[in-house]
Subunit: 351 residues, 2 copies
């Protein structure tokens, strides 16, 4: 199959002009007579010529590809993000190469390396393993890089106002009357985001002069959790003499897993436990889940991220790294309610 595809030279011959002329019309240069342009165009049609991007890239010493590294495409938040980034990038004429790192440091390293070998014009990180000094050294200051939804001091980034969102979420619980509010995180949550959200939770709890509830690390496959050094049963934390009545989870998936757990031990949400998440993944809006959460403006973030990267690529400016914060919104649904009530807020809040 596949006898070699026609080249610019074949077109030139067929149209009776030179290589360069064909090149000029293909690239839409203005300095071409309508007549020759027509002749060339016809030859292109006739031969079914398709420009070879690889050759172009080599000639220009520059590609129109942006490399996207993402931890887990299976996570709906990232999948959505990837899709949006693709949209904005392709609107600007960039193609994308993807690399899924599964959150493994090594894989991330290899992914970056592969992308660089392909001479992508820039790198967009949708997630970044904390421990990646090697990557920083390789890239910092020499290569267009932008972080979206995560951030590193050495490059541009676009992030949601994590801390503010966490404050919002926690304040919502406080407003409902909760006194003992826990913070819960799971593996697979971006570490920086985690830290910021924890801080926001602390801000709100402290500002209300409440005692801080426990900070829980939970692996959803298990029934125990880590509390500092200790390991205790998750179930016990939620009951006991002075039970937690509300939990702010570091992201929606964690929140949903928690709700699932509550269902399994017949602890009712929100009657007996209020839960709020972070991200507002599609899932959270389903009637059966109806999770109160903090919504990130994903499309806006993708847009800004791609714009920042494009700027770095096209202007090669050396301005210092810039960090853009994108606002977040509290979305109240049915996973939160005042503590220990029989009554329940009925009716869904759509927005």
């Amino acid at each position: 199959m596949a006898e070699r595809p026609p080249t610019i030279l074949d077109v030139a011959r067929a149209a009776g002009v030179s290589k360069s002329t064909v090149s000029n019309v293909v690239r839409g240069a203005d300095s071409v007579t309508d007549q020759t342009r027509l002749a060339v165009t016809r030859a292109i049609e006739k031969l079914g010529y398709r420009p070879n991007a690889v050759a172009r890239q080599l000639g220009q010493r520059q590609t129109k590809i942006i490399g996207v590294v993402v931890g887990d495409l299976g996570n709906p938040f990232y999948a959505e993000m990837a899709k949006l980034v693709e949209r904005h990038a392709s609107a600007r004429g960039y193609a994308m190469m993807f690399s899924n790192t599964l959150g493994v440091d090594e894989a991330e390293h290899a992914a970056v390396e592969m992308l660089l070998e392909h001479r992508v014009a820039g790198l967009l990180f949708l997630s970044f393993s904390g421990n990646a000094d090697g990557v920083r050294r390789k890239l910092a200051g020499r290569f267009p890089v932008v972080f979206v939804g995560c951030s590193e001091a050495w490059a541009d980034s676009v992030v949601a106002s994590d801390r503010r969102g966490a404050r919002l979420a926690t304040q919502h619980l406080i407003d409902l009357g909760h006194q003992r509010i826990a913070y819960l995180t799971t593996p697979g949550v971006e570490e920086r985001a985690n830290v910021a959200r924890l801080a926001g939770w602390r801000d709100a709890v402290d500002a209300a002069q409440l005692e801080r509830g426990p900070v829980i690390r939970w692996n959803p496959f298990e029934t125990t959790v880590s509390l500092g050094q200790e390991t205790v049963l998750l179930e016990e934390l939620l009951s006991g003499p002075d039970p937690v009545t509300a939990v702010f989870a570091s992201n929606d998936l964690a929140a949903i897993d928690l709700i699932d757990f509550c269902d399994s031990v017949e602890r009712r949400v929100p009657d007996e436990l209020s839960v709020v998440g972070f991200d507002d993944v599609v899932l959270a809006g389903l009637g059966r889940i109806s999770l109160t959460t903090i919504a990130q403006q994903q499309d806006r973030m993708a847009e800004l991220g791609v714009a920042a990267l494009a700027e770095r690529i096209e202007q090669r400016s050396d301005r210092p790294a810039r960090r853009r914060l994108v606002a977040v919104d509290l979305v109240v649904r049915n996973s939160t309610a005042p503590p220990r009530t029989r009554r329940r807020l009925n009716g869904k809040v759509a927005s």
Copy 2:
């Protein structure tokens, strides 16, 4: 920033050998003395040389990139599929370029064109717009193509046993005692798959000598559905004198939307309506959703798809297109139950 990166020539000079020798060690050719290999390796380290994949591709007239076209990365089923494909492809040394077509014909066309310009080694479709004759003509028989989770007669494909799965699902409902079983589909379901699943539903209903229930086309944003030419309220279909007691939905998302709808009109699932889906997306397994469904072996499909594509790419054989069927399994959860035997009064919905 970025003074040009070192080339193979710089390395050659630094190591005191020729270009080709460097090339030989970079590609891991065996015909190199340990001594020169060492010298070259050191020079590479020292200069921070990174092979230029673009140049290699041009030289070899062949890339190690596979182009993946997908309709909607936001759909968890596709996102998962994309991730798995990436895994298997990168295990075989292929990089991936993605293109999200949003299900738009035109975008799909453009995506294919862009991927071809980049001279991807092969194309893997995760979804394919029915109307794409142009694409077929462009590709059929001349270019390595494989369809995964969808299929076209003119290329290799790997699909789940849609028809068999649909039979399984429907039979499950029949076994539970349902007599009036509807088939429901929504936009965004692959047309081929839809047809096959519809056929499987028909098979089972007919084999059980039941009257065929309605075939419903529903756009989840609306409260009405299409029934052949007619448009009726979805709610009416489910109540009325001879109500549907079970629905086989063409995929999980449709099923979940239906359940959501039922919740909103207080029609209880599974007590008053049994629902089964298709795909077994992660979502379906959540306690609160607990959807009975047909599980596809996504990882297996991704693996076979990538393998088939790799074979086409590497062997350039002209064997006829092959279609592989991957088995599916019924996963019974809590969205299905025996029908309630009592009859309803016209127009009155029991509370």
